[in-house]
């Protein structure tokens, strides 16, 4: 294990304006290649924590470093997948996926090649010329993930990306996300409400409590990658599901 963690959070506090503390006393170190889920009741600040790591909002106190620098300086190493797909309705699927490369100033030939690759990775090669409104919610989310992958981020931050999808689509996308990760290795941060999703995807689950948001439990998930859908039916998986659900309930009471 490398000595320096990829993401280090020390004594983090966050409040908005003069409001109450949203996050308090957060300490966390995440190494390269981990997949960490934040889970907790509404209002525990898990999305805020993700946005802090992304540098989209700044800490009120404490320290966050990404690869040894402040998050705002490490953006080219990271990408963010939003809760809704956040596509531009006037750009076709391929043009949406292309956007980060376009903004970065990559050459057109390279952009085309990379977009085609990423659309294939998410299984949407046939939809390149479609507009977002012509896609289902699950397909739109795939486009969003393909867009994030174009820049080959070291760190992928996902803010409840599958929250609005039905369970079958969500399970399917969970499996696909892990399959993608086995090829395009990235360190993952994942915000979710779903215990099953957290256990299936993560190497580590961070349970957050409310008022203010703080870490109440950290659960290691020992199952090796690659994980297949059958994992969900094993007794060990179900036991860990119960443990995590218990930890989450303890927060609520």
């Amino acid at each position: 294990m490398n000595a320096a963690p990829l993401v280090a959070i020390r004594g983090l506090q966050k409040r908005f304006g003069a409001g109450p503390l949203v996050l308090d006393g957060i300490n966390l170190e995440v190494g390269q290649g981990e997949f960490v889920s934040f889970i907790g009741p509404s209002g525990c600040g898990k999305s805020t924590l993700l946005r802090l790591i992304a540098g989209l909002t700044s800490a009120s106190d404490g320290l966050i470093t990404v690869d040894g620098t402040p998050p705002e300086k490490a953006r080219e190493k990271m990408f963010f997948v939003f809760q809704d797909a956040t596509l531009m309705p006037w750009r076709r699927v391929a043009e949406n996926v292309e956007l980060p490369l376009l903004l970065r100033g990559d050459a057109p030939g390279h952009r085309r090649e990379r977009v085609a690759q990423m659309l294939e990775v998410v299984g949407l090669s046939g939809a390149a010329e479609k507009f977002p409104w012509q896609l289902s919610g699950g397909m739109r989310m795939r486009v969003s993930i393909a867009r994030a992958l174009t820049v080959a981020p070291e760190i992928l931050l996902l803010d409840e990306p599958f929250g609005a999808l039905d369970e079958m689509t969500r399970d399917r996308l969970n499996e696909d996300l892990l399959a993608i990760r086995s090829r395009n290795s990235f360190t993952g941060f994942f915000v979710t409400h779903s215990v099953a999703e957290a256990v299936f995807l993560s190497s580590r689950i961070v349970v957050l409590g409310v008022n203010p948001g703080r870490v109440t439990a950290v659960i290691d998930v020992p199952f090796p990658y690659p994980r297949q859908s059958e994992l969900r039916e094993t007794p060990a998986f179900l036991r860990l599901l119960a443990t995590t659900a218990h930890a989450l309930r303890a927060v609520r009471s």
């Binding site: 992304a54 989209l56 953006r75 080219e76 990271m78 990408f79 963010f80 939003f82 809760q83 809704d84 956040t86 531009m88 309705p89 006037w90 750009r91 956007l99 980060p100 376009l102 903004l103 970065r104 507009f131 977002p132 409104w133």
Partner: protein, 265 residues
């Protein structure tokens, strides 16, 4: 006959039938009350007058179209740039928007003589009046468009380390397009009216050719009522051509992606 074809036919037939009925009513009332033609000409008299006066009406229509086009283009261009300044900087918006409102509250009938004082009778004043009528809807709508950018999309651009110019080009301007086009539609409806009013208030027959507004005054003073009605007809046609053009542009730019245009099964 398929239901869709029937509904499409109805869309044309119903207004045509209504128009025919009104024209019949027009003739009946004129005959029953024996209204003289200098008060209310019959529809065919208007068409005849339009034909007989064509050597005056056609050049007049061209003059008005020129005024309307120039004023409309200025309203759209200046409106867009101004909206960009207002939409991109809250400080500019705070300091400028109330003043634009004040300007908008000023009735054109008061502005017209001022323009004539400054610019003289004729095209420059007409263009200025058309501009004044058209530019506010463009500014108000487009500013709204620049302001209402999806928050997540903006953060996406932040994550990409996008420059302000990139954000403008790839996010704000395309995002504001539907709003801009709505403002343009309103300005397009108002432009021919603005040009005619401008012509009416500040027009001149310099070089022998006045606009439609000028012709209106001329026919009115000569009590050539059928020709006076004919100028109304010309104004209507002009308005439709203008709105048709803007609608076409609207369709062209939005039909592939915007919610208002795409057909969802």
């Amino acid at each position: 006959m398929s239901p869709s074809l029937r509904s499409r036919l109805a869309a044309y037939l119903l207004p045509a039938a209504t128009a025919a009925a009104l024209i019949v009513l027009w003739y009946v009332l004129k005959a029953v009350f024996q209204v003289p033609s200098f008060v209310l000409p019959a529809p065919h008299e208007i068409l005849v007058a339009a034909w007989e006066e064509r050597s005056f009406l056609w050049p007049a229509a061209l003059v008005t179209v020129r005024g309307a086009l120039l004023g409309f283009s200025a309203a759209v261009g200046v409106g867009f740039l101004l909206a960009m300044a207002l939409g991109f900087s809250p400080r500019v918006k705070a300091s400028l928007y109330p003043l634009i409102l004040v300007l908008q509250m000023m009735p054109v009938t008061i502005l017209a003589p001022i323009f004539v004082l400054w610019l003289g009778q004729g095209l420059p004043s007409i263009v200025a009046i058309t501009f004044m009528i058209g530019f506010f809807p463009v500014v108000a709508n487009t500013t709204m468009g620049f302001i209402s950018v999806d928050r997540n999309l903006r953060e996406l651009f932040v994550m990409c380390n996008a420059t302000r110019a990139q954000e403008a080009r790839y996010l704000r301007i395309p995002g504001a397009m539907p709003y801009f086009l709505t403002g343009m539609k309103i300005a397009g409806t108002l432009a021919p009216i603005g040009a005619i009013v401008g012509d009416f208030l500040a027009g001149s027959a310099q070089g022998g050719v006045g606009g439609i507004g000028y012709m209106t005054i001329s026919y009115f003073s000569q009590l050539k009522t059928p020709a006076l009605f004919a100028t109304g007809l010309v104004a209507c046609v002009m308005g439709f051509v203008f709105v048709g053009g803007v609608n076409w542009l609207h369709w062209r730019l939005l039909h592939l992606w915007h919610d208002s245009m795409v057909k969802k099964e």
